[in-house]
């Protein structure tokens, strides 16, 4: 494999992704774990750029780093004592390791035949070439067209909106049960 600019950038983002992912699971501080997760997700965004998928890279940054990570940090801050508490190794860790290994094996068994099917070997060769097959410049415009095309993804597009609406209303209902309008529970709470 020749050393190209792409392979160096790939190496940087690969190390960033995997290294941060490792730190997420090894760090004792949950809050730091969330920050490492953001770094890892950023590495994935960089890999999307390398794969000539800038839109996915943008979505990765906006949705995963901007939104999901914020949700996780909120969840950590809202959980009593969890920020101060350093996670300790419990008796469940062998089970957790076993589940992780099984899930990894499952992923490999699913992805490997898929890679053969798509001819990813060729793709890997393309990746190190000087001029791999280009992605059409107007791919994002086409995505926009197909998203609202009744023949294509119009229904999933609108259903996504319904799903988002249901998610928000469901969440509000969980926090403010029916009949407690504008008086959040625990008004005299300790904050």
């Amino acid at each position: 494999m020749d050393i190209t600019v792409e392979s160096i950038v790939f190496l940087i983002f690969g190390v960033l992704t995997l290294g941060s992912a490792l730190l997420v699971v090894t760090t004792r501080n949950l809050f730091h774990g969330a920050l490492y997760l953001m770094a890892s997700l950023f590495g994935v965004a960089g890999l999307f750029v390398l794969l000539a998928a800038p839109f996915l890279a943008g979505v990765q940054v906006v949705v995963y780093i901007g939104a999901i990570a914020i949700l996780i940090i909120f969840a950590i801050m809202l959980t009593p004592q969890v920020t101060a508490m350093r996670s300790v190794r419990t008796a469940q860790w062998p089970v957790a390791v076993a589940v992780a290994v099984i899930f990894f094996a499952l992923l490999v068994s699913v992805v490997t035949p898929l890679m053969d099917e798509l001819g990813v070997d060729d793709f890997a060769a393309d990746f190190t070439q000087e001029n791999p097959p280009d992605v059409p410049a107007d791919s994002l415009v086409r995505l926009g067209e197909q998203l609202v095309d009744p023949q294509q993804f119009m229904l999933p597009f609108e259903v996504a909106s319904v799903l988002l609406m249901a998610a928000l209303i469901g969440a509000v209902l969980l926090v403010w049960p029916e009949g407690t309008r504008s008086t959040p529970p625990g008004e005299a709470g300790d904050d």
């Binding site: 839109f55 809202l78 101060a84 280009d134 998203l147 988002l164 509000v172 403010w176 709470g189």
Partner: protein
């Protein structure tokens, strides 16, 4: 692969690290070091903190994060639509109106419930 298009982003990314790092490093090198207890306080002025810094926040604040996530995802859908806007007909505009309307319904519901008041 046209990584060249990303050179500017890479430059900005590098700059965003260099600009804040430079004064910190310069301060470490140039600043005289004569520590005393007052200098080590977290705040230069204001009330001293008491209790643990890491307190539990009210669970209601989670709604703010959720609303943000929702409209963040909406933005992701809006972006390709807006790019293709010139090629699209009136029907697409109608579709996006329905899309946004549903989310506005959710927002109005949250608002009416009083979930957005910073109580």
């Amino acid at each position: 692969m046209s990584l060249n298009e990303w050179i500017f982003i890479g430059l900005f990314f590098a700059l965003s690290w260099i600009l804040p790092a430079t004064p910190i490093v310069l301060g470490k090198i140039l600043a005289p070091r004569r520590p005393n207890p007052v200098k080590h306080q977290v705040y230069e002025c204001g009330v001293e903190t008491f209790g643990d810094t890491r307190v539990q926040f009210r669970a209601q604040y989670y709604i703010f994060a959720l609303v943000f996530v929702l409209f963040d995802v909406e933005l992701v859908f809006l972006f390709p639509w807006a790019l293709a806007y010139n090629q699209l007909g009136l029907f697409a505009l109608f579709e996006m109106t329905v899309f946004i309307f549903l989310l506005v319904v959710a927002l109005v519901y949250t608002w009416r419930k009083g979930a957005l008041t910073w109580a």
